[in-house]
């Protein structure tokens, strides 16, 4: 069995087909940008894209993603056409969003999936879409500013 992560084909050992995608990414593929926060789908730190849609990798099993394009924070820049970092990553830097930064990979993955689907979200839509991503440092205001910046620059 093989799965595609950030464009690379990765062979899955038989005994790892039933582990979560999060554990597989972090402890087998050694892509540690995707974070563990709660393990039960409540914090969003583990958010990745499955065929471009935001999903909780702690609630997804490796066997669920056969034939699906998995994108992690490490591969996000490959999904945008421009040079360098993905526009959402650039906006995150320009607005100086991160504090501790631990939740931010998940925030960026949720925000980039939202903007992909809906390039000009309303304030209410941003709040609703981002509600599943906890940030204990309280960067929510800056996250809204960064998403708005991307929407305006697009």
């Amino acid at each position: 069995m093989e799965i595609v992560i950030n464009g690379d084909m990765i062979a899955v050992p038989d005994d790892l087909q039933n582990v979560t995608l999060l554990d597989f990414l972090r402890d087998f593929v050694m892509l540690t940008g995707t974070k563990f926060g709660c393990g039960i789908g409540l914090c969003g730190a583990c958010t990745v894209h499955l065929d471009g849609v935001a999903a909780r990798s702690c609630q997804t099993y490796v066997s669920d993603v056969i034939g699906v394009e998995v994108t992690t924070i490490e591969g996000l820049d490959q999904t945008s056409s421009g040079e360098g970092l993905h526009p959402v990553q650039q906006a995150w830097i320009a607005e100086g969003v991160p504090q501790c930064g631990y939740c931010q990979a998940g925030q960026i993955m949720t925000a980039s999936a939202l903007l992909h689907r809906n390039p000009a979200p309303t304030a209410a839509e941003i709040r609703e879409e981002m509600n599943g991503n906890l940030c204990r440092c309280g960067t929510y205001d800056r996250i809204r500013q960064a998403i708005t910046r991307v929407a305006q620059e697009a």
Binding site: V29, M30, T32, A45, P98, Q99, Y102, T139, Y140
Partner: protein
């Protein structure tokens, strides 16, 4: 794939270390002789504040003329390293790209004060500025020697100096080949040393600019290495059986089921320490191994919420008239009571709380005969060093703690228990071992913010002045919260805890007052949580201020101004300012309310907050929609960073007011994940507006926790404005207000 990527994270650390030793040209001091004394008393956190000369060990000039700064502060998002980097740049006339800022390991600097209490800028500004200025002057002396000019003729340039003939000489040209240490007698005397960080803000080149943090790119690309992300080739994976209740004692364990699982390398049982841990060659079987590990515990006291509440019951202590400490007393309460036209009294309670940082802690340890290495994220790496040394019965200097950016600290990471477990397991199995806590461990096996129980009786005279203030508070000691049993009790009797009582003295003029306090220890482990007692204490004080204003029919903002003495001018100024920016005094709208509160954090930072609240009857929720904050924290090194801290504190304050509560049943914490303890979410977060005030010439004051204390009272006061319902107990829930009608 596996091993090549595996190497990546660790080789990056190795690279940093390597350059740390090899490339230095001038190093302004030697840190070889770190004084570490082995002793038999328990390992203690690193309390000592730095002095100027410590600064010399943190700053080096490199052969290419750039500067390496071993920032003596742990990074957890507060950005202290950034502000201090700007101080280095200010003194040395260099750009951000000229500075390599390093989070130091324990073998890279002498021990420094743990990163708590928002002291980073306040305490470290001076030594960093002093040492960077000394380095600049040492380089100027080298330039003078080289050119045959006097030091007065060598003028400041960018990344170097200007000579009288108009040519420039960069720092790179001044770095000698051999290591160079500024001898004590070459240091410039304090009264002769020019300190650019101390000049008027209008002259500052880099201080006051919103530099962005040097870690941002690594963070947004997933490359930032937190402790959980570190691995070593051939490491093993450990997990610990957490005790089922406070004070549980290990009785017996049966490990046969666990050791039978292929991949499990063994089980370590240390009866005396009550430690049961398992080690495996792969992380994927750890949870299965833990499940079949059969451990018998003798549980601790069968403690429930009622018992805890009964222990921390201010009314019981008032009835017994039995308080250990009188923190403040002046005038005569009875006289005050008699002159009061309006009186108010009430009991205010705040619950136990958890840090709930999003990164659960992790430690990686590699114990060898000649050396112990630990990789972790902690607010006090030298405390981790000492604790690991104690556990292993080794010298502290045998232990190197490699530090990592912390995924949220808030006081909860003074220790790193996962590192201690990893060290035990590594010692036993002779392998590098990684131990990661899960979310339940993080909620149930760390230490907590204690509950607070206040009673205040106060009054106002006919002309609107406070006649008396009778305030009693009971909680648990925080700073010494982890001191064992009898020692703890003795400490509590000897002296009031500076953490628990933080902010307990109101900033207002009050002729007749008495403030009493008792600390009562419960089986719940207690230690630092954002702001310590400051937020619970301000909640009681500023709620009562609102009650008094209401009773006397005076606008809450005016009531505060009226009662603030001249010595609180900076606080009065932020109160006025927050009134301006929030357009205080506008008409009330149905189902919305607006509240105000203010406080001075650690007698230094003055903060005033206005909160707007909306009641959503359909969703049965209270939502804080907007918050305005005016803060005077003196000199601001980086406005963006300070604003971020204020936004963080406001969010935290909303969360503690509306959402958070740790409760107890059967001797343990009931909450184990974000469904039962849910920090404020994005959808409920307010828009935050910030105004910063800094009177000229004021030194930088604390920022990391300072905006938090007034927030809960501002929200409770907004609830009152919206509903007429006075909430004196946190958290405030919709159901508590609209119980009958809801």
């Amino acid at each position: 794939m596996e091993s090549s990527t595996k190497m990546k994270s660790i080789s990056r650390r190795r690279f940093l270390k390597k350059t740390g030793w090899v490339a230095a040209g001038i190093t302004v001091a030697s840190f070889g002789a770190v004084p570490v004394v082995r002793d038999k008393i328990p390992a203690l956190p690193t309390f000592g504040a730095p002095n100027d000369k410590d600064g010399l060990t943190w700053i080096q000039i490199l052969v290419d003329g750039r500067v390496r700064f071993y920032c003596p502060r742990m990074e957890m998002g507060q950005g202290a390293a950034l502000g201090l980097t700007q101080v280095v740049a200010e003194e040395l006339n260099i750009e951000q790209t000229d500075i390599e800022c390093i989070l130091p390991d324990t073998n890279q600097t002498p021990p420094f004060q743990m990163t708590v209490g928002s002291q980073s800028i306040a305490n470290f500004f001076d030594p960093v500025s002093w040492a960077a200025a000394q380095l600049r002057e040492a380089l100027r002396a080298v330039a003078a020697e080289k050119t045959g000019l006097s030091t007065e003729q060598i003028l400041d340039g960018r990344s170097g100096f200007k000579l009288p003939d108009g040519t420039t000489i960069g720092y790179a040209a001044l770095v000698p080949a051999a290591d160079f240490i500024i001898a004590d007698n070459r240091l410039i005397e304090n009264d002769k040393l020019k300190r650019y960080a101390l000049r008027p803000t209008t002259d500052h080149q880099t201080i006051g600019q919103s530099w962005l943090h040097h870690d941002l790119t690594a963070i947004v690309t997933g490359q930032m290495a937190y402790a959980r992300d570190i691995s070593l080739p051939d490491m093993a994976f450990g997990a610990v059986v957490q005790p089922p209740s406070f004070g549980a004692r290990f009785v017996a364990a049966n490990s046969t089921g666990a050791t039978a699982i292929p991949g499990v390398l063994g089980v370590e049982i240390d009866e005396a320490a009550g430690f049961v841990g398992v080690v495996a060659s792969t992380p994927f079987i750890l949870s299965e191994a833990l499940e079949v590990l059969d451990v018998e515990w003798q549980t601790g006291p069968d403690l429930g919420q009622e018992q805890i509440d009964a222990l921390l019951d201010v009314e019981r202590l008032r009835a017994e008239d039995d308080f250990t400490h009188t923190l403040d007393q002046s005038g005569d309460l009875e006289v005050g009571q008699q002159s009061a036209l309006h009186r108010s009294s009430g009991r205010y309670d705040t619950p136990f709380a958890a840090h709930a940082a999003i990164e659960p802690r992790s430690g990686l340890a590699w114990v060898r005969a000649d050396k112990v290495e630990v990789w972790c994220g902690t607010q006090d790496p030298f405390f981790v060093q000492k604790r690991v040394a104690k556990i292993l019965d080794r010298e502290a200097e045998d232990v190197v703690v490699h530090t990592h950016r912390i995924g949220g600290g808030f006081g909860g990471r003074v220790m790193c228990q996962a590192s201690e477990a990893a060290a035990r397991l590594s010692a036993k199995f002779n392998l590098p071992v990684r131990v990661q806590w899960d979310r339940a461990a993080e909620f149930q096996n760390n230490y907590f913010q204690p509950g607070f129980s206040h009673f205040i009786d106060a009054g106002v005279s006919e002309d609107g002045f406070i006649t008396h203030w009778d305030h009693d508070v009971v909680s648990s000691s925080i700073l010494t919260g982890l001191a064992p049993g009898l020692i703890g009790k003795a400490i509590d009797l000897a002296t009031p805890d500076q953490g628990t009582t933080r902010g307990i003295r109101p900033p207002y003029e009050m002729a007749n007052k008495r403030i009493r306090h008792s600390a009562i220890r419960t089986p719940v482990p207690i230690n630092a949580w954002r702001g310590l007692g400051a937020a619970p204490n301000a909640f009681a004080i500023e709620s009562m201020m609102d009650e008094l204003a209401f009773k006397s029919g005076i606008d809450p903002l005016q009531f505060r101004l009226k009662n603030l003495p001249a010595s609180s001018a900076r606080l009065a100024e932020v109160v006025r300012k927050v009134g301006d920016i929030s357009n205080w005094g506008q008409a009330r709208i149905e189902d919305t309310g607006r509240g105000l509160a203010c406080a001075v954090y650690k007698d230094e930072t003055a903060v005033a907050v206005v909160a707007d609240l909306t009641i959503d009857h359909a969703a049965k929720t209270l939502r804080v929609t907007k918050v305005w904050c005016a803060q005077d924290c003196g000199l601001v090194l980086n406005p963006h960073q300070v604003e971020s801290q204020i936004m963080g504190n406001v969010t935290w304050g909303c969360s503690m007011t509306l959402n958070e509560q740790i409760t107890f049943a059967e001797g343990r914490v009931e909450q184990d994940n974000f469904h039962s303890y849910e920090p404020l979410r994005h959808g409920s977060s307010p828009e935050v507006h910030v105004a910063l005030l800094a009177p000229p010439g004021t030194p930088p004051a604390p920022v990391g926790e300072s905006a938090l204390p007034p927030v809960p009272a501002a929200i409770a006061n907004a609830v009152f404005a919206a509903t007429g319902h006075r909430c004196r107990r946190l958290p405030i829930r919709y159901e508590d207000i609209f119980a009958e009608t809801g």
